[in-house]
Amino acid sequence: MDFAPHTDDDLQAMLAAVGRSSLDDLFTHIPQGLRPPGEPNLPRGRSEDETLSALARHAAANHTDAVCFAGGGAYDHYVPAAIAALVGRGELLTSYTPYQPEVSQGMLQALFEYQTVISELTGLPVSNASLYDGGSAVAEAVSMACAATRRNAVVMSSALDAPTRQVVRTYGHPLDRGTSEVDYGADGRTPVPPLSDDVAAVVIAQPNALGVVEDVRAHAEAAHAAGAQLIVKLEPIAVGLLATPGSQGADLVVGEGQPLGQGLAYGGPTFGFLACRTDQIRRIPGRIVGRTVDRAGRTGYVMTLRAREQDIRREKATSNICTNQTLCAVAALIHLSWLGPQGLRDLARACLARAQHAARRLTEIDGVELAVSGPFYKEFPLRLAVRDPQAAVTALHAAGYLVGPVVDTGPAQGAVMVALTERRTADEVEGLADALARIVKEDS
């Protein structure tokens, strides 16, 4: 099967126009040894109906019924129905990078609006038009800080989520970037680390991977005192309550966009956001949209500062990013506009109330206690009196409750993360408590 509209007549006429007698004939100039005979060894083509039935069987083989208390950067926030309807509109869905701004004003304006809401969330004036994800966004921010400071070392909090720490290391390795970690303390907060003069950036998360709210201001001051920049990986719902990292002195605020209208989707596609101060704008990776006027003086939008990008600057570009995650960014824009300021605040407050309630309720269980003492708003680590925390997670999943991830390092190592979004009810917490009590008891 294929989606080509060619009739037999079309094929004959078009082949005649190009002086060929068959489709295969268009490939005969390629060395014969590179043209294996026959078809590739894939299943034979099938109808749309059969294709979708096969996909439906795969989808059904996933188990998504467990009540989701899992966190670790992806949260079961509600995604309003309007998002899919709007980003599914063909004019948006099937467009590409707006190289021709006159026929791309829709996407360009949406991205300008997106940059504005990211600027609001981060407390910094400049946002790009999206990055791949939160992990690579941190890595790109590290590069920016290195370029800005002309230094090549980075200090990461060990309370930055493990995958992101790995991404930073992976990106840094070929560039001989010195990458070290500072351990978080018993309260789950990252102490202000001593900084040598080769350190370009300190990276912390807000709230961090233990759910704990960091003291961004203290880190910013210390970093700046050492001539380094502070990069904050922000969980964006948190600023419904917390001060924006930008207002607290962070130089670069990045984050994983998953909580903003992306759904769980096994973690992708989502997007990464990145914001900086105006003096860093020429170092920003990827697309930026700017406002301007047309020949008739009407407001319009274009991609701007293109001389940073790979297609113009090649090996001197600020990043290699080309295709980004625009449609995800537009979904986030819709989500944030749907929420509005008060909705975002209410959402964050709902997480706070539910998380506090759940923490109280779950730690009533014998053998269950909070693994850190610092302040949290939607996610917290539980220390379980069990031999193998991963086995407890599996047992909870079998009982219908998804929790995790398990903390990989530091004082709370082995603790199990529990996250509460606005969707998790008191009844569901009771159910989790019952299951947890049973599992901990059976293990001890």
Partner: protein, 494 residues
């Protein structure tokens, strides 16, 4: 543009439409005690007011994005022959597949037992992509082609380092896409440029002269960015392999050969595929796409961890036990939803359908070329183009207009312009990639419009310079955008 009305000729921003206290969202009522943030988050610096997000009702939100969509071109609206981008029909079948709740509702850290459907799909997809590329193992973390390039070059580096073999340079043709040198730089390599010959192919002798023991590898697009198949690819591969260097296949143009020629057979060691091109996943205004990377066995140990594997009991799992891995490139597993669409596309096509696809893609490009190259000559006429062709608009410069103007005029004639000014090696380049999903009538109409615009360049060049005049805005002042740098809305803006 909206169906009617002077009033709706522009669309205010969300912020212009915002009114304090308005709101679309609803949240479940609290069934737990409410908590005072000041108490619960004692010692934490709280925001005085939440971020100044727009405040609109849901209807006005829906209208805003509907109207924005009316100001945007997409494949669904009309022909979109953007060279190097494979702007083909995005099947609604694939969208339906990715939207299935079993895929949508899966948490990225769900245990493997809960993700068997997706893992099995990824495993099959790996096998199929391996078969199509002549490779063996995949990573799905790269979120786009450039991300794949970075991953691939990191694999080069890991491979050489593992052999104690420090190499410094990556060779890249002068016709290469900008992401290639940019990725090499991000991977700490020095870029060495190899020139193209007079026929638009890599100058093999120049290449052979450049290759030495410091060469980590070569990045190549094949067909290359002028749309021509690198006929000497086997000799090129031999030259690199001879010195222990590796070959990277940039899959942006895989649509030309998919199901017919395999990068692995040509001698490539690492391949990325742009599934948003070849496998028709939507470009989404710039993304998301996906750039899975396929490698041969000898590079497999270095792949980003985890990789998807099939256990002896028939179950599927993420294998984290990859001691030589370069590490992670993505915070989760990559753009899984895009890969699901690609899977649907491949299952629908099958091996037979993919051959039809690439054959008709090449036919369509050659057909359009046959209709226009008398007025817009090929940059490199010595070889037959594959799925796209690059013409030069050099000739119209005598009339004081450039390819930009020609492109803007095409817009008024109802067509999205081709890629232009890329590749850099063709003067006034116009790169046309029709894809296989366009009908002969569309190709004929487009060819006629292109000829008309070329004719007008001589007869009425102002018409080209003034174009476009049928769009929501006319040509935009890009200089001003760069100088004044208004990159977010603020209330003091006019």
């Amino acid at each position: 543009m909206p169906v009617m009305g002077e009033r709706t000729a522009t669309e205010p921003t969300l912020f212009d439409r915002s009114r304090p206290g308005r709101r679309a969202s609803t949240l479940p009522a609290l069934d737990v005690p409410d908590v005072d943030p000041v108490q619960a988050l004692d010692g934490v610096e709280l925001a005085e007011a939440p971020p100044a997000l727009p405040e609109l009702g849901e209807l006005d939100l829906v209208r805003h994005f509907t109207r924005l969509s009316h100001r945007n071109h997409g494949i669904d609206v009309g022909f979109y022959p953007l060279g190097s981008c494979s702007m083909k029909y995005n099947p609604r079948m694939s969208e339906a597949a990715a939207a299935l709740p079993g895929f949508r509702n899966l948490h990225p850290w769900a245990p493997d037992e809960a993700a068997q459907g997706t893992l099995a799909l990824l495993y099959d997809l790996q096998q199929w992509l391996a078969e199509l590329t002549g490779m063996t193992t995949a990573t799905f973390q790269p979120a786009a082609g450039a991300h794949g390039e970075l991953a691939g070059l990191m694999l080069f580096r890991a491979y050489h380092e593992d052999r104690g073999d420090a190499r410094r340079t990556i060779i890249i043709p002068d016709s290469a896409h900008g992401t290639n040198p940019a990725s090499a730089a991000m991977c700490g390599y020095d870029v060495v440029t190899v020139p193209s010959g007079d026929d638009g192919l890599v100058d093999v002798e120049a290449l052979e002269a450049l290759v030495d023991e410091s060469t980590a590898g070569l990045m190549l697009t094949n067909p290359n960015t002028v749309g021509l198949f690198e006929l000497d690819i086997e000799r090129i591969a031999a030259a690199l392999h001879r010195v222990g260097a590796l070959l990277y296949y940039d899959g942006a143009n895989f649509n030309a050969i998919c199901g017919r020629v395999r990068p692995g057979d040509m001698g490539f060691d690492v391949v990325h595929l742009n599934v948003h091109k070849t496998f028709a996943t939507p470009h989404g205004g710039g993304g998301p796409g996906a750039g899975p990377v396929l490698v041969s066995d000898r590079l497999a140990p270095y792949l980003p961890a985890p990789v998807v594997v099939r256990r002896d009991d028939g179950s599927y799992a993420w294998d984290h036990d990859r001691p030589k891995s370069i590490g992670r490139l993505h915070g989760f597993h990559g753009n899984i939803g895009i890969l699901i669409r690609a899977y649907a596309f491949l299952l629908f096509h099958g091996g037979d359908g993919l051959q039809q696809m690439s054959g008709k893609a090449v036919l369509n490009a050659n057909y359009v070329a046959s209709q226009v190259t008398d007025v817009l000559p090929l940059g490199y006429p010595q070889h037959q183009p594959m799925h796209e062709f690059v013409s030069t608009g050099r000739a119209i410069k005598v009339h004081g207009v450039r390819v930009t103007d020609l492109c803007k005029r095409l817009i008024d004639l109802g067509f999205h312009p081709p890629t232009n000014y890329f590749p850099l090696i063709v003067d006034e380049a116009l790169m046309v990639e029709p894809t296989e999903t366009e009908s002969r009538e569309t190709l004929d109409e487009f060819s006629a419009a292109l000829r008309q615009a070329v004719a007008e360049a001589a007869e009425d060049p102002d018409r080209l310079r003034d174009a476009p005049v049928t769009t929501p805005v006319r040509r935009l002042d890009e200089g001003r955008a760069g100088r004044e740098l208004v990159v977010r809305w603020s209330s003091d803006q006019a």
